[in-house]
């Protein structure tokens, strides 16, 4: 019997445009075939976010554009352009 499992990929892009350059990446594989962890790759899986769509990933979250809180205009913190993708894959068994 086949079942669907979710693979999740997070791409941290250079700006709010989906076709901007990948700066960071994270993968979680719900099929259990791959095991990703911190610092396991120096090469991004895609050049930009659009390339991921062309390869069959579906975007499930766009980062919101939120103006900086007053007083924090020059403060840096988390990566702002975090795009979340999913792909559903069949597993057998």
């Amino acid at each position: 019997m086949s079942k669907l499992r979710q693979k999740v990929m997070i791409l941290y892009l250079s700006d709010s445009a989906l076709d901007s350059t990948v700066k960071g990446w994270t993968m979680y594989d719900g099929t259990g075939k791959e095991h990703h962890t911190t610092g396991d790759s120096d090469t991004p899986p895609y050049e930009n976010g659009l390339d991921a769509l062309l390869d069959g990933w579906r975007v499930i979250q766009f980062p919101q554009l939120i103006p900086p809180y007053p007083g924090l205009e020059y403060t840096t913190s988390f990566q702002m352009y975090e795009f979340i993708f999913e792909k559903l894959e069949e597993i057998h068994g």
Binding site: G24, T26, T38, G39, D42, T76, M80
Partner: protein, 289 residues
Amino acid sequence: MVEKKYLLSTKQMAEFVAKGFLRFDELVPDEINQAVMAEFDAGTTKAAAASTPLSECYPEPSAVGRMLRLPELQGIIYSLVGPDPAFDHHAIHVRQPNEGKAQGMHGDSIIDTRLHFDIQIMYFPHDVPLEMGGTLVVPGSQYRRINEMDIARYQNLKGQIPMVCKAGSILVLHHGIWHCGRQNRTNQKRYMFKVRLNARVRQHRLWNTDDLEQLNSGHKPIFTRETNAVEDVQTILSRQEPWFEGAAGRLEIINRIKQWRFLTGDENFDVHYWLTRLENMPETRLEAA
């Protein structure tokens, strides 16, 4: 007193301000590396109480003490946190053989927004090949306002550096830098000794400043190839890291300018006019004709 020849140079200080760390390969002699490993295995490395002056920590015959008292390391420590800093804490980190996963990305301690900074010395007493992991550091991350494991889901960032090194190598980190222990895929344990030090004096021109005036230039033409070709403090502080987003990368330069002003006391210092432009708020009114 530390001999001047062991102090950091202005360019090294600028690198520290830009990247948040300095790396010194094979600094510690192998005889000390072996003695430290034996000390770790015997469990005899004792921590002093937090805030103890470093000079009172690790008394003879401590091998860790011999490592920290090397004149080269004393010069690095003096340049960044001054004479006889306070011991904060230490940790002997052990990554077990064939681990299932790496440590999550994090900044140590808790969110810490000071311009006064602590340093963390990471000491690698044996060779660390890539498959053994090495501590991973993210250059230029030290000014980001995050709290500890907030960033654990950042698995990979462009330009991240796995500490692959020979025995006796040292990393000196700003307290805020993002890092993690990479997965150890070998059959051997990996050791890394970390000690955190707090300044007890104002961190003001503690390095070898002989070349500061020459390298600390005033305003220059901006966005020109000629300007960027000169390897001075402005050029070093203006370099973007590969993982920086376009817009936030510009704000990181502001963070670095503020840190350099703090360290030099030069409130007019700027990099390519980024901060001076924001500070330009003239109040002089023209008289009516």
